[in-house]
């Protein structure tokens, strides 16, 4: 069969084209992702929003990423989901929804007829919140048993149109290159916007630093209710709603004496 007759052989047979296409596709796919031999395992759970909404919790996307093709499902109105037909292997679970921080579960081992339960809460992203330019920092430690440290940061409000309370998380350390990845202590700032004072005021408790020590601080836009979770793959305490780009400059203060 010469080249001309091969072309004419396929031209008159659309089904053969389809089969040939499928064959090429199966070759390319099977090289990257193996086929599971058993598919009896299940990941199920309940995903809800934290605090900001009572639901309904439907259409939160949950994806099982494992050795084979990813499998995605959506939660029902109660927030329940179930991914079945999973093959033996180790999986990660990705939980995401537009407007919410994406969370991950790592190292879920499935074998045989395993059913693994993964419950979680997702937190609303603080979309639109902008940090104003922060200028000067003042601190004061209360004398009561709470060991509270009040922090006031003077801001330039004209740089931001956001005049509500600022959803901020602060990270502190006794070194200058403090960031959300490298810090010694983090607190929700719960920053109250005091109209007319151009000040960001918040109080934090039990700062683990000695008096008169120089402390460096950086603030990020982040859902202030999120306490974070341990990313067991990276080993880092992680905030799903933290926006790395929406941050203040590094500021320093001297830890007040009690």
């Amino acid at each position: 069969m010469n080249q001309r007759s091969t072309v004419s052989f396929f031209r008159s047979r659309p089904l053969l084209w389809t089969l040939a296409g499928l064959w090429v596709l199966s070759c390319s796919c099977s090289e990257e992702l193996p086929e599971p031999l058993f598919t009896n395992s299940v990941i199920q759970g309940l995903v809800q929003y934290y605090y900001t909404s009572d639901g309904p919790y439907e259409n939160i996307s949950v994806t099982a990423q494992g050795p084979y093709q990813d499998q995605t499902t959506l939660t029902n109105t109660s927030g329940l989901f179930e991914i079945n037909g999973l093959g033996n292997g180790t999986y990660n679970l990705e939980i995401s929804k537009e407007g919410f921080g994406t969370k991950y579960h790592y190292g879920i081992q499935l074998f045989g007829n395993d059913t693994v339960i993964c419950n979680d809460q997702i937190y609303q992203l603080m979309t639109g919140a902008k940090l104003p330019v922060l200028y000067e920092i003042h601190t004061r430690t209360s004398y009561d048993w709470l060991n509270a440290t009040s922090i006031a940061i003077t801001t330039n409000r004209s740089t931001s149109s956001y005049t509500q309370d600022l959803p901020v998380r602060v990270f502190m350390a006794d070194f200058e290159d403090v960031s959300y990845k490298n810090y010694q202590c983090t607190r929700r700032a719960n920053a109250l916007w005091r109209n007319g004072f151009d000040k960001l005021l918040f109080t934090v408790w039990d700062l683990p630093f000695e008096s008169r020590k120089e402390i460096f601080l950086i603030a990020y836009i982040c859902n202030p209710f999120e306490e974070g979770y341990l990313n067991s793959y990276t080993g880092l305490w992680t905030f799903s709603t933290l926006e790395p780009e929406e941050r203040s400059g590094v500021m320093n203060f001297t830890m007040p004496s009690p």
Binding site: P34, E35, G66, G89, F209
Partner: protein, 264 residues
């Protein structure tokens, strides 16, 4: 015409690799997977103070056919790469430290296996420096134990943990001890002292009991410095199924033998 159709389909099917994937042996449960193995190891000095730098612990995963090694980074994290599916034996080694092992680590492959880890519910790997402090003398009266140590450090610590071994027979070995308990000796004005717990000790009142001690530290949990939310629970001992005994990797040299009269 029909004949050439069938032939083409048959040839395409036989050539397709997916046809062969299905043709596996009955005993295969995983289609030749591999994946990474991730974990954390923490190092402590001989008194249980966590070290600042957790790097250079050699972590080896011993599989059926091959071993895989990596060194921990300054935070103690390690990631062994591309290990085939199987059950592994882990060894944690650093010069001057006891060797910690874990048997029967199941690794399925695919996404990384997360080894017992830094959280409040799971256990991390704790590696302790071999003790250089030695026990020079011991006195036990009723349940009051006083110990003299010879330290190699300038500032004596506030507390020194030991394991105490007791036996009714003279010249006993540690493995044949009738009763063992851990004790924390507190520095009270230069003298290390503690009360010993004899609950369920198999001895009669008035009996002469012989005892020895070894320096040994296993703190069980610690807080990462300055990070209040990170209490890490871990273990520095392991069960060796081949020897059928619990191994204390950082057990110091045994002291001389002393004796006392078991109290009422």
């Amino acid at each position: 015409m029909m004949h050439s159709w069938l032939k083409t389909v048959l040839v395409l099917t036989l050539l397709s690799p997916s046809f062969y994937v299905g043709c596996t042996k009955d005993e295969d449960y995983l289609p030749g997977l591999s994946g990474n193995m991730v974990g954390n190891v923490y190092t402590f000095d001989e008194f249980g103070n966590v070290l600042e730098d957790q790097s250079n612990v050699k972590v080896t995963a011993i599989g059926m056919d091959q071993s895989y090694s990596r060194h921990s980074d300054p935070t103690g994290r390690f990631e062994l790469e591309d290990l085939p599916t199987g059950t592994y034996e882990l060894h944690f080694e650093k010069s001057g430290f006891g060797v910690l092992k874990q048997f029967g680590v199941q690794h399925l492959g695919g996404k990384p296996t997360i080894l017992p880890f830094v959280s409040t519910s799971e256990r991390a790997y704790f590696l302790y420096e071999m003790p250089s402090t030695t026990i020079t003398s011991m006195t036990l009266v009723n349940d009051s134990l006083s110990v003299d140590f010879s330290f190699t450090i300038a500032d004596p610590p506030n507390a020194v943990p030991v394991r105490i071994y007791y036996s009714a027979s003279e010249n006993f070995t540690l493995i044949s001890a009738d009763f063992v308990n851990p004790a924390y000796l507190w520095n009270t004005g230069g003298q290390y002292y503690c009360k010993v717990n004899f609950y369920e000790a198999p001895f009669d009142p008035g009996e002469r009991i012989y005892f020895k001690a070894c320096r040994f530290t296993d703190i069980g949990a610690f807080q990462l410095p300055l990070q209040w939310q990170r209490t890490i629970i871990g273990t520095g001992t392991y069960y060796d199924y081949e020897l059928n005994e619990i191994i204390y990797p950082n057990l110091g040299n045994e002291s001389a033998q002393y004796s006392f009269i078991f109290p009422e």
